[in-house]
Point group: C2
Chain length 769, copies 2
């Protein structure tokens, strides 16, 4: 089975999308899929997780570090770069299994002869600060090879500059580039070291060091011989002031960076790669999902999982996953609801520790959410629509420029997408349900849940005539319809939050009474459990119409103009016009940006009949524009749920290939909005495992209702439930569950609608259709 | 003192605005200030009050009748029309005292010599269906004069056509043009008759009749003699199927029209004019307000009162006054809040019977308001933002075209300006207060009041944290900020509605117990008085900030961008761009369309200190764009109230001259939006009498706190209070109150903050400063 993403030939038009497609990373940093000679104009970037900076009054965004792998080769003074010379042959590839990037390029050189370059690189999954690369160079004639390599201190920024006091130095063969961020004065240090393949080759090397601000370059000159192959390795390390935070004994980022490359060189490329590969093998062993019968789907799914694995915060519980992963600064490097709703399930099933980090991030940012609630006059916690390090909302009030007037357009993403607080609670409770680890509740989770419930209580209004609580003036997932009343999805999420808030109280009273009493005391003046109970009993959540079964997306949605998507698109007069906002084309029609009611049907699938799901799928599907990459996977999931996987299959493929095809929008005007789509990547996994394989775990039993697309024979994957490891193989006829020997408890499984059966440690269970 | 509006010389550029400025009318119909030779392209129109028609799916609008005064003169085959020939001299004038329009035009004719035409006309205030005109023609040489005159059946329509089956006929010297309206099939009939000045002249007349659809023309030929003057009169009558409605014995509109012109001819022009003048003298005797010391203000005020007198519904309690009066079809001929809030005060003080008609109109349209409330899911009565004959809302969801895209823009005038129901209640209670006539409550007024209160109860939401009712998602007078929460003006109006609803209950229980019991029974299931009491006690109405005294216009208004009006206007990139709507320039700033908080300070002046009024005047005044003609008068009123009449004077003059200068916007794109501005006219009167003269009647005492502009010596006017007539003369030093002999009761007056004193019938009271 193929694990390799690759393409032959160089196409300048694909530079930007390939930067995403061939990305490597390890959760500490992302390294875009650039070629070694690329600079900031080609969007080369080493994007650091959780390090943010604000320049002037521009958007706050992640910091990109200087590029320690920067290298430009020349031959007899002629630069051998795809940016300057058409290569004779070129291949770029990425091995998904090991997260190793490779390029091989062959150039004709003046006066005859050819030079072939190969460069392999990885961002170590074993030593998270480390980047390593191995080069080979082969020439068919004698020539003078120039290697300009070192640290490129010219940074691609969307709203920079972020690095100040950029300096570089060279000592003991190590280059060092240091800087401090503008807003918070965080140090950023990158060290680099180069080692030649053989002592013989090293001897023939002649190097000049050039230091210019944050850029430190070696100009190496080799008198190369025809037929000979030259090999060298580069090690780069990145540290910031945030690493080892709170430990004044610790060395500074610069010293640690230098030390890291020295140690790396001592270990050598082979050893580093081996350690890196072992880590990756371990990650895949916990997550790889095998689809039998559909190579294309298999490949797209693996690519999607790979994208999640390279950005997962393995090290820190203070960072989460931004909406564009670590592929750059797009969307301010901010964490959206994408993480809880579309990425968390993958980690919950495969690597609960990462899931815990993701949820701890929300606990650490509770104060930011409290500040936001207070700013708007509410109680409790109103989580940021775009969350960075502090949890204050990075989302601006004007997010889109009107293409007709060039004016910034007021949008209400920040103000009205209150479901974000419910999404956080949902994620937390999913974590508790899957892992059984309720210590997270005592560690701040309960406070998050209750503050969110308090926020909703203060946001809600009571309708005295209809005798119910309503959630007014909200924006649901369908952002083309802002400021609506009683959005079904939002109301259902708030209802869940209230239930969870009450369940949390029971759990804490039972298991952590001291924590409970402390918090309960702080809420003595309410609103607290009594108010939550009252609101839950009387909260209005739109239900299926008794005649049509359609659930109205929000109050008076059905009064909007009912046009087809084609008709709406025929009204477009500017290719980049935004369908939402004040006067957007969709706003007065029933056309949705993305799954909204249908997302609710997925999340609360147990509460709705198959008829209701099917009617609403069929009603909303033709009305959905899929203007968000979060939309398609939901249609796949619900299609599988209603037994129509082949309706869902195209939506799954659309989701799973979004970063492979590069067909998503890359620029709006001159603003780059491309990057990877981790929510879609997570959605692809969800479609396969939670949709087609039909796995559903409620904390007690794992239910499996397979609904496989036509071509699929089976789906096989490992899952972790309540800390125990299981291997599942799901086909149309049979489900096999194998419990690991080391599991501490039995878990019950039920398949094909049958009775639940216990699967004790070390046992295998077969469930037949 | 001058009562004449006039101008010399013909300026084609002023044709449209002069159509408004020189308008005549009698409440049954309006006749634009056109010249006799004008047709539909010059916006000639005979606009009928209360007759509406809808063509296709276009806006419903008033019906214009064929023009029975249409006349084109020619001399030796050359047309003598300002539209074709530059006149040698031309004067157009309007006598405000008698509502008689006059034009005099002199033409050079080919081959030397001159012809002078004069035409005088009036719309009879004595016989409301009748139009009459008197012509003279004088020539300095012998020539052949052609008079093409009759009924012009070509109608100026904005969203027509409205007249179908147009036919004309001639019998017994009377021309008749008939038609039926498209939507409701109402008959419209216009008859015309011409009579020459002397039998001698009549003999020399040679006439050919031309009938073409609804157009009926006489081609009259006169062999005119040098130095002789020719005189003729024209009588035209207009009837519709709505006249004499419900009386099947009554003749049809065509027969009545014919009969009316025949009777008119028998009476003769002089007699008709005399009867008309007597009616006007009587109207003026009840309303004329004299300003001593400021001729300019006096003239503008009289013009304003004139405009109200020509459109007041003297005949019917089923029509009210549209926002553009009877000056055409602009704004769909619809009745807005303008009537209750800006015009009613004039009629309450001068002609309470007309005030009763205006309020009965709202009682007759209650069912339409009920239908609107039900359409939106509310209880009670939600009055139409744009009300026509049935009370259903004529306001469309898309009211403005976006100048940048040409697309219709969604506005929320119809959906969210809920204050309209409170404005109606306010008007009704003002009527009861001023007249003491509470029979109107028993005649349907109580039901209107309670249904409006029930509407508000169902519209309101209870905030459980803040423990108060709030009015969410409303639009106040400042339409640049749609869909806001807790608009201070709206909340204060709703508060007043609830108070009135409870007072109405007391009044009815006391005086009309049977009516009370009947209605109360129908509201047995509530919401009714208990709920009103509860809501009144807990309704949130924004109050002055304790530190700044500023009353926030609505929730989070103060968070909007605080720009100056000049700065905002500097951002304009298209001259006709709308400041409100989805993306309008003002929407995200603090710039207001019109007085909003300041209007509240006027209406509830007793509830706010002078400091609060002054602070808010000064705060909001520079932020007000005055995009509505309803704005300026309110700033004048509050300036007078805080003792700063000279701050208010320019606002008064702006209000009072709006239709004299013609400076208001006439076209948006190719859509005519001009016409008269009766709300501004009413506002001008309010500024003088309720502002500068400082009259305030609360149902018990009339308080007079003069606040006269610098140049003004005194203001003198008649008023009717509780059915009694009083003449007031207000100067800085002294107020004289003279009670008519025939008054049935004494009324107390208080001036200059002094004690109230009784003014019994036939007595004069002097109050000194």
């Amino acid at each position: 089975m193929d694990w390799k993403v690759s393409e032959c030939g160089f196409d300048a038009g694909r530079m930007t999308t390939n930067g995403n497609k061939y990305m490597i990373g390890n959760g500490y940093m992302g390294y875009r899929g650039v070629l070694e000679e690329y600079g900031k104009d080609q969007l080369a970037a080493v994007t650091l997780a959780g390090v943010y900076d604000r320049a002037g009054d521009k958007w706050r965004e992640p910091v990109n570090a200087p590029n320690g792998l920067y290298t430009v080769i020349s031959c007899d003074g002629e630069v051998l770069s795809v940016l300057e010379t058409e290569p004779l042959a070129h291949t770029q590839s990425l091995d998904l299994r090991t997260a190793v990037h490779r390029r091989e390029t062959m150039f004709d050189i003046r006066g005859g002869g050819r030079v072939t370059l190969t460069a392999e690189r990885f961002v170590s999954m074993n030593q998270l600060h480390l980047l390593a690369a191995r080069w080979t160079l082969h020439c068919t004639v004698d020539c003078r090879i120039g290697i300009m390599t070192g640290i490129d201190g010219a940074i691609w920024d969307i709203n920079g500059p972020h690095l100040f006091e950029q300096q570089s130095s060279s000592a003991g063969g190590v280059l060092l580039s240091t800087a401090v961020t503008g807003e918070l004065g965080q140090q950023v240090a990158v060290a680099e070291l180069i080692a030649f393949g053989t002592a013989e080759q090293a001897k023939r090397v002649d190097a000049v060091i050039e230091l210019d601000g944050g850029t430190a370059l070696r100009h190496i000159s080799i008198e190369a011989k025809a037929g000979e192959t030259y090999t060298w390795c580069k090690y780069a390390a990145v540290f910031t002031g945030l690493d080892g935070e709170g430990d004044p004994e610790e060395d500074g980022p610069d010293e640690r960076a230098v030390q890291t490359v020295q140690e790396a060189a001592a270990t050598g490329y082979g050893g580093l790669l081996e350690a890196h590969r072992r880590k990756w093998a371990e990650r895949w062993s916990r997550s790889d999902c095998v689809i039998e019968g559909d190579d294309e789907a298999q490949f797209a799914l693996r690519f999607s999982m790979y994208q999640l694995l390279i950005i997962a915060p393995t090290l820190s519980e203070k960072v989460s996953i931004p909406a564009r992963g670590l592929s750059g600064q797009v969307y301010k490097g901010a964490v959206f609801w994408d993480t809880e709703m579309f990425m968390l399930p993958f980690f919950l099933h495969s690597d609960p520790e990462i899931a815990r980090n993701l949820m701890m991030y929300r606990i650490h940012t509770l104060d930011g959410a409290r500040r936001k609630a207070e700013e708007y006059g509410y109680l409790g916690a109103f989580y940021a629509w775009e969350s960075q390090d502090s949890g204050d909302d990075a989302c601006t009030l004007f997010n889109v420029n009107d293409v007709f007037t060039g004016r910034p357009m007021r949008t209400y993403f920040r103000d009205k997408q209150i479901h974000i607080s419910a999404d956080v609670v949902h994620g937390l409770w999913q974590y508790v349900t899957f892992t059984g680890d309720d210590s997270i509740l005592a560690d701040g989770g309960a406070e998050v849940i209750w503050e969110c419930a308090r926020f909703f209580y203060s946001y809600a209004y009571y309708n005295p005539v209809k005798q119910r609580y309503e959630l007014l003036d909200v924006t649901g997932p369908d952002e083309y319809h802002e400021r609506v009343n009683n959005n079904a999805f939002t109301s259902a999420m708030v209802q869940e939050t209230l239930k969870i808030a009450l369940q949390t109280a029971e759990r804490l009273q039972d298991k952590y009474p001291a924590v409970y009493n402390g918090l309960a005391e702080s809420y003595a003046d309410g609103p607290f459990l009594d108010e939550f109970t009252d609101m839950l009993a009387q909260l209005y959540v739109p239900q299926p119409d008794p005649n049509t079964l359609v659930i109205e997306q929000f109050g008076r949605y059905l009064q909007l103009e009912d046009v087809s998507l084609a008709e709406l698109k025929a009204r477009v007069i500017h290719p980049n016009e935004y369908f939402g906002g004040g006067n957007g084309l969709a706003t007065t029609t029933g056309i949705l940006k993305q799954a909204d009611v249908v997302l609710m049907l997925y999340l609360f699938k147990g509460q709705f009949s198959k008829d209701v799901k099917r009617v609403n799928w069929e009603f909303y599907e033709p009305r959905t524009e899929h203007g968000s990459s979060l939309s398609a996977c939901i249609y796949a999931l619900v299609a599988a749920d209603i037994g129509l996987p082949d309706w869902g299959y195209p939506y799954f493929m659309r989701t799973a290939t979004v970063d492979l095809t590069g067909e998503s929008k890359q620029y709006v005007g001159d603003l780059y909005i491309g990057g990877t789509h981790p929510a879609a990547n997570g959605g692809a996994w969800m479609a396969v495992v939670l949709g087609f394989a039909g796995l559903q775990y409620d904390g007690e039993s794992a239910i499996l209702n397979p609904s496989l697309p036509q071509a699929w024979e089976s789906v096989e994957l490992p899952v972790v439930l309540r800390g125990g490891s299981f291997r599942l193989r799901i086909s149309r006829e049979e489900i096999t569950v194998t419990a690991a020997e080391g599991n501490s408890e039995a878990v019950t499984f039920a398949g094909f609608g049958g009775e639940a059966e216990l699967c004790p440690p070390g046992m295998q269970l077969r469930l037949r259709a």
